[in-house]
Symmetry: C2
Subunit: 356 residues, 2 copies
């Protein structure tokens, strides 16, 4: 097993350096982690020998195992990670997390969603992290249970609560209600809704609000409730298009189908800015002017909403991320963070809504 061959095909370890130097492994470890526990001279010789043998320094995983710290925080995202970087609004959330956690020297691990070969739960089970942020997961997402089982510190954001874990969210329903009331105040009676998805496997579908399918996403259900509350219109005459993705393209599709089925609509409420942009594009393509012929309201108020002059509901997504990150760090330090932090939403009236 032991070979004195000068060509170690295998990565050199701390023991190899110790052996080559005729000292104990502890000394090598000390050279890296406790400089004052050994003479400067010996320490220098250790580093020289390490370089000579190609010893890359303490193995991170072995060290993590030993000191019981992974040095990273994980984020569970409802969709494929690809999506996390597609919406300017969700990158703001991630920015908030890093703003809070980077100073502590903690990395941010984006945990991959499921794929054919790698079920989602296995990736959350295998994530080398000291804590998790559960972001906007569906109430039937198996990863929630998998995360719970891991018994690591967790913070929940915009998703179903779990007893004993800090929650960070926004006044989702209230924001939607304000959006709806804004339209009512402007005199609109024929309003369509473009919704975010209802369940992980959902696909594009046009329904009416009186018979909604089961909704597994807290954000979607809260906002829909807010819309209904604010509109006070008969649900059976309220068309709702449920989108599979939160994308401009999907918003355009939604608008097309809504307007095809209900040409008399004078306004559309959307559950995200991205969807609103898509609606606007589709509306213009069929010759409708905004806001003259059609009023549109978004949700989120990401960076691009200002640029586009979109009337929308503002939510502090970066702050949301920061609070989540801070709560998680407090948990790691044995402190007790606020059990619940609900951030305010507010209506921002710009140029895409108008009197009817």
């Amino acid at each position: 097993m032991t070979r004195e061959a000068p060509t170690p095909r295998r990565r050199a370890t701390l023991k190899d350096v110790a052996a080559a130097l005729g000292v104990s492994p502890a000394t090598i470890s000390n050279a890296y982690n406790r400089p004052h526990h050994l003479s400067a001279d010996l320490r220098e010789r250790v580093f020289q020998m390490a370089q000579q043998l190609g010893y890359p320094g303490p193995h991170p995983t072995a060290r993590s195992l030993r000191i019981q710290q992974a040095g990273a925080l994980g984020v569970l995202y409802p969709e494929r990670l690809f999506q996390a970087f597609s919406d300017p609004f969700s990158t703001e959330f991630l920015r908030g997390i890093t703003a809070a956690t980077e100073g502590a020297g903690l990395g941010l691990l984006l945990v991959p969603a499921s794929s054919s070969s790698h079920p989602a739960v296995s990736t959350v089970q295998g994530a080398n992290v000291d804590g998790l942020v559960l972001y906007s997961l569906a109430d039937n997402d198996p990863r929630m249970q998998a995360a719970l089982v891991r018994q690591v510190p967790m913070v929940l954001v915009d998703q179903p609560r779990l007893e004993g874990f800090p929650f960070v969210g926004i006044e989702d329903q209230h924001g939607a209600e304000m959006a709806a009331r804004h339209l009512i105040d402007l005199g609109h009676h024929k309003v369509g809704i473009v919704s975010l998805k209802f369940s992980p496997e959902s696909f594009d579908i046009l329904i009416t609000a009186n018979h909604p399918p089961t909704c597994h996403y807290r954000v979607s259900s809260s906002r829909l409730e807010g819309y209904l509350e604010g509109l006070q219109l008969p649900a059976e005459h309220l068309p709702v298009f449920i989108c599979e993705h939160n994308s401009l393209q999907n918003g355009a599709l939604a608008a097309t189908q809504l307007l095809d089925a209900h040409p008399d609509l004078t306004a559309i409420l959307t559950m995200s800015d991205q969807l609103a942009f898509g609606v606007m594009e589709a509306a213009r393509n069929r010759g409708l002017n905004i806001p003259e012929d059609l009023s549109v309201v978004g949700y989120d108020d990401g960076a691009s909403a200002l640029q586009a002059g979109l009337t929308t509901i503002h939510q502090p997504s970066e702050t949301k991320g920061r609070l989540a990150g801070e709560a998680l760090i407090q948990l790691l330090q044995g402190q007790v963070p606020a059990a619940e932090q609900i951030l305010p939403t507010r209506l921002v009236v710009r140029g895409t809504t108008r009197n009817f």
Copy 2:
């Protein structure tokens, strides 16, 4: 905070389950990893006992150490992670990486930059990853050496090359040259340049192109060279403002100082879209119309450039990320990726440049 579950003083381990069940540790391990190596009945009993004891399943770090796989890829970013989520253009790059790596079940670890308490090299030494993407690091960034020492698979993107590691980049200089020539073709003779940073510690400074300070960033130096090549103007009359940050605010500051010192400028070349937006804002604030009074060219062509009608240099940042991710995965699989992939840049003329 307190949970009703039987709180074990210490996290239960595989051994505990084995002991409680009177079987060997290997059996527990098999129950989780090799279902077919034991009877369905015993497997079921294992899971039940695990639940009863609160055993969270195999410890990810211990497992990682044993199987020599971290299950994640790391990204080294030139600035604080906060910045990675601030520029729509760099999020496109990250999106490309995840698009390539998520399918393989690999997480993406964003390695934190330095802070007062945590030197940057320690975080790269301690990152639990199977490979690294070095993105746009300065040639004097100590993390490059730290990464090299680790002897893990690496891919270099938009930064100094290292012998033996795949490189992914763009035609940086060529793009800049086209931008400059575009202005010359339009008849401009008085041109200012807004540059990205030259060194990690750099601060805002106005210089002339004939005496540039040492540049540690490959992207900045390539683009500056391209500008000089394309402009063919005397360097001593070419003002360059070097920005500390790649932000709209910094672009506005740059424009203000450039135009204060050189009121006769008719055009400004910027090394990023973000900087261009800032220049445009500052120009408008001082009563200059774009492009009538001032032509502006960006770089990157991120999503917002189209919306703003910015003349800019397009680069395929998402593709860049995808290729980097794919190359890294090939490395992990023992395959040999292309040693070098240089993606094309192209001039996109929109509404912010005009004849002079």
